[in-house]
């Protein structure tokens, strides 16, 4: 009898081990957990901001880095809101004993820039995505990855404006913040021209081209820094994206959206 039970037991183990990999059902180690949710009190800091990370799934641990490296289980363990004093990139990743680890999610903190006195628009934001008024680009509030967030200004391919400072100041660079969400027909800039001036008449011009994208990627917040390094009072910025949506995209041939938020004049 004992022998029979033993044989049954071993047969069961053998049978089950063989069967398991071919289970009819999805296995836990095939599925990723989602990225932690990040919330910051403020992303343009002049004193302190607080950064909270969470993922309400029992057993999850969140790790993070502040030096730009990819987090691992050897990085800092997140336990409570992080006090952010210095600008930089905070990267997070969630781990769980049963599921596959999450993708990395990051939050970038910028130094608060020189206040912009006025913005004169030469191209108009769409009525549907017109932000929260004329200072949307310089109100120290960043748009989120949701394009319906009211902090975004959405343009039909060109965003063109002149920024004026109260007094002539040294500007090290300008940071142009934008949204990349090709799945929602929102494309990154292709070409940016920055013209700077002391008197508003004579402008010095700098142009840059950005690398185009070649496929759908998740919505993400991006920025580009353009060096200036001079005392100036006026900055004219013209941002253009692709003239029409490329062939690989379902919207090919149509106009793409261009979404802007927070242009920061760094000193």
């Amino acid at each position: 009898m004992m022998l029979k039970v033993m044989i049954c037991f071993l047969a069961f183990i053998f049978f089950n081990c063989k069967l398991k990999p071919d289970s009819l059902f999805l296995q836990q180690d095939q599925i990723q957990i989602t990225q932690p949710r990040l919330e910051a009190t403020n992303q343009l800091i002049d004193s302190i901001a607080y950064l909270t990370a969470s993922l309400k799934l029992e057993g999850t641990k969140i790790y993070y880095t502040t030096n730009g490296e990819s987090p691992s289980e050897n990085s800092n363990l997140y336990t409570s809101p992080i006090k952010v004093i210095n600008p930089g990139t905070y990267k997070f990743k969630a781990y769980h004993p049963d599921w596959k680890e999450s993708d990395i999610v990051e939050k970038v903190f910028y130094k608060k820039g020189i206040p912009i006195d006025s913005i004169i628009w030469h191209s108009n934001a769409s009525d549907r995505y017109k932000g929260v008024g004329s200072l949307t680009l310089n109100n120290n509030k960043k748009g989120t990855v949701d394009f319906k967030d009211t902090q975004w200004l959405g343009f039909d391919t060109i965003a063109h404006a002149t920024l004026q400072l109260k007094i002539e100041s040294f500007v090290k660079s300008i940071t142009i913040g934008y949204l990349s969400d090709p799945g929602s027909w929102i494309f990154p800039p292709a070409h940016i021209t920055v013209k700077t001036s002391v008197d508003g008449n004579n402008f010095k011009k700098l142009s840059i081209n950005l690398q185009s994208i070649d496929g759908i990627s998740a919505p993400s917040l991006k920025h580009v820094d353009i060096p200036i390094g001079e005392d100036i009072k006026y900055v004219q910025v013209e941002v253009k994206n692709v003239s029409s949506i490329p062939d690989w995209h379902e919207g090919k041939g149509n106009k793409a959206w261009l979404f802007m938020d927070e242009w920061v004049l760094n000193y």
Partner: protein, 347 residues
């Protein structure tokens, strides 16, 4: 005894369940775990291979909706015009296909008349509601309700869903169009129109789904999802607003009533870092959320539901659910790489 309870009892009694914890400790090299999703009373294992077909022969684009017919077959509506309707048995075996004329095939509802099955299909590209027999013969087509004066052109009418009463009356939600709810008699004659686009109590942003709720036999009503607003609204049969249920964070598709629970596919989470952030949601007979397969456990704080969001990347964009008599759930997904439905087995 239902099949589900029988299976549970018989498997609990089997040697397998009794030994399995022991075995998984001792033999950790084969400790793969079946995914179990959901909370409380409604938990499921996941079969991703259910209903997979040869995409060259029987392709799908968006899998929009599913219903179970009187014979127990699972009927899927896709907007692929090679085979708009795909009919499976419950094991996922292909039984038949038909339909090539529904480029915007979106809403699928079963109605039974004198023991015979019919389908109501909404097509937002044809701007029509089409009634067919279960094997695809067209009974009638309804165009946009010009006589109401609420529409300037047929293009403004993009119906997403229908629901049918016992007497054959049916309601249509114009979820991608002007957001009106239309009430027709069984012959397709318009009786009433209400709703419309807006953020007022009796208005909608994305009136995506509609469902006749007769769980309370004395007070039947109509449930309508305002997907963009993350709200489920209740109206009387004559079109008066009654109440709302907030479902923070959840872009709910149509309500599906099975026994005394309401099931939803949630297209995506409101503020997710990834856009393919859908999950499922189940409410009990008191309209309390009891389970969210693929998402955070539902918790109430002073009777306010806390924001729900996807926690595991299993579903992409679930668009509809269909529940069979064994309490298993079939999930149709939109925009999810031309994938076939997923079957969840209740545990």
């Amino acid at each position: 005894m239902s099949r589900r309870i029988f299976l549970k009892q018989s498997s609990c009694a089997s040697l397998g369940i009794l030994l399995s914890p022991l075995y998984s400790n001792a033999f950790s090299f084969c400790d793969n775990k079946d995914v179990i999703i959901g909370h409380n009373s409604h938990q499921y294992k996941v079969n991703m291979n259910w209903g997979n077909l040869d995409p060259l022969k029987t392709p799908v684009k968006d899998c929009h909706e599913m219903v179970q017919d009187s014979k127990g077959r699972i009927v899927l509506l896709t907007n692929h015009t090679k085979n708009n309707i795909i009919i499976y048995d419950k094991s996922g075996k292909l039984l038949e296909t038909w339909g090539t004329q529904f480029p915007g095939g979106h809403g699928l509802t079963l109605c039974k008349e004198n023991g015979e099955d019919f389908l109501l299909i909404t097509d937002y590209e044809r701007h029509q509601i089409i009634k067919t027999t279960i094997d695809g013969k067209v009974i009638f087509e309804i165009d946009y309700p010009k006589e109401t004066g609420k529409y300037n052109a047929k293009e403004e009418f993009k119906p997403t869903e229908t629901t049918v009463l016992e007497n054959g009356d049916f309601y249509v939600a114009d979820g991608y169009g002007n957001q009106y709810i239309l009430h027709y008699n069984h012959k397709g004659e318009l009786l009433n129109i209400f709703g419309g686009r807006g953020t007022g109590e009796s208005q909608f942003l994305n009136a995506h789904g509609i469902c006749y709720d007769n769980r309370d036999k004395n007070n039947p009503s109509i449930l309508i999802s305002a997907r963009e607003m993350n709200i489920l609204k209740r109206f009387s049969l004559d079109g008066n607003y009654m109440s709302s249920i907030d479902i923070p964070g959840a872009l709910i598709c149509r309500p599906v009533i099975h026994k005394d629970h309401i099931y939803f596919a949630v297209l995506k989470s409101k503020k997710a870092p990834n856009s393919d952030s859908g999950f499922l949601l189940i409410m009990d007979n008191n309209n309390q959320v009891v389970s969210c397969p693929g998402a955070t456990a539902p918790t109430y704080n002073n009777s306010n539901l806390e924001e729900l969001y996807q926690t595991i990347r299993l579903f992409q964009y679930p668009h509809d659910v269909c529940i069979d008599e064994d309490e298993n759930v079939y999930v149709a997904q939109w925009n999810s790489g031309n994938t076939y439905p997923i079957k969840l087995t209740r545990v």
